[in-house]
Point group: C2
Chain length 175, copies 2
DNA sequence: GGTAACACCTTGTAAGATACACCCATGACG
DNA sequence: CGTCATGGGTGTATCTTACAAGGTGTTACC
């Protein structure tokens, strides 16, 4: 599915026009909403909420890490760090935590004694699934008044926003 | 502006149908994207990025707090806490930090000796504006390939998602 | 008015996520 | 071999937040 992708009046020739104002109002609004979303979702994700972290025992970091492992298979710490856009030291700690909880396994790479292969356990994958489903239920409640179309739009736009942020980051890092 | 609000085929009578699967896939996707967004935006917001917090000296908490003050005027700590969905102790600390930075003023409420009125300073409001504009520039870069329409859609859907999360929270708290 | 209950804010303490700067072990190459 | 690069782990620091407990001012009620 692709959201209306044309329609852009490029070439904003005259700065300070009404159009320009509207455009920057939109951007400001996106920015503000994202900032607020961070706060809200953080709290919904983290502590407050018995359906989430506590019950399934997966916090956001663990969830995303397991997701990466589930989707892209066993990987080295550095690969995970790159994929998740995190510092390797952070990933190390997260992996250690997950290992303690029995959700991943850590083994030395036989082909490279420096490297560590991180691999999800059965239990880890199971918990990932459970967590995902619990979270989906939650969002089903949060979005209960939304139309199918709007939900799909939201998913799509969020995905694109994430891509945009990734690209932005890469651009800045490459400088 | 309102996004397509109808179209929902309610009454999901037969669980396990294809429609149902699609719906829960959408939810799962929203959930995952939000989780990822948190991570990304957090980092874009916080440290990594010289255009943001460091340069304007406003972190996310301060930004949202000042925004609340700018939009709704001087308020008590508790009112802010309620509005921001935070614990009062957290707001106290944030206000103290902003006060140290000269961005808000704290005075005893003459009508109620227990309460503290928090009020933005000139400089605080100025910095809020600057920050907002810097952030808008950032998002203008992040969303540079997006059509006007899609940006507006994103803003709208994010706003609704935030509302949804708020409502959800209220529902749970009221239980 | 006096006391008890309540409201508002602050401080103490703790937890999670993350980064950066270092350090150690291993591998690669001359 | 010896030097440099690479992969990971540790020490430390920051930021954000919550819950619990305490101080001080208000209100309500006898």
């Amino acid at each position: 599915m692709t959201v209306a992708a044309g329609n852009q009046s490029r070439g904003e020739i005259a700065p300070g026009t009404r159009d320009d104002d509207a455009a920057s109002a939109t951007l400001a609004s996106v920015e503000l909403e994202v900032a607020q979303l961070l706060r809200r979702a953080e709290r919904t994700h983290a502590s407050g909420e018995p359906t989430g972290a506590r019950r399934t025992g997966l916090d956001r970091s663990g969830y995303l890490l397991l997701h990466a492992l589930g989707t892209h298979g066993p990987q080295h710490i550095n690969a995970l760090a790159a994929r998740l856009g995190l510092d390797a030291s952070t990933v190390t700690r997260q992996v250690v935590a997950l290992e303690k909880a029995g959700r991943v396994r850590r083994t030395r790479d036989p082909d490279d004694g420096r490297a560590v292969v991180v691999e999800p356990t059965e239990g880890g994958l199971l918990q990932l699934t459970e967590h995902r489903s619990a979270r989906a239920d939650l969002y089903s409640d949060v979005l209960r008044d939304w139309s199918r179309l709007d939900r799909a739009l939201l998913a799509e736009l969020l995905a694109r926003l994430n891509e945009g942020l990734d690209d932005y980051r890469r651009r800045r890092d490459t400088d």
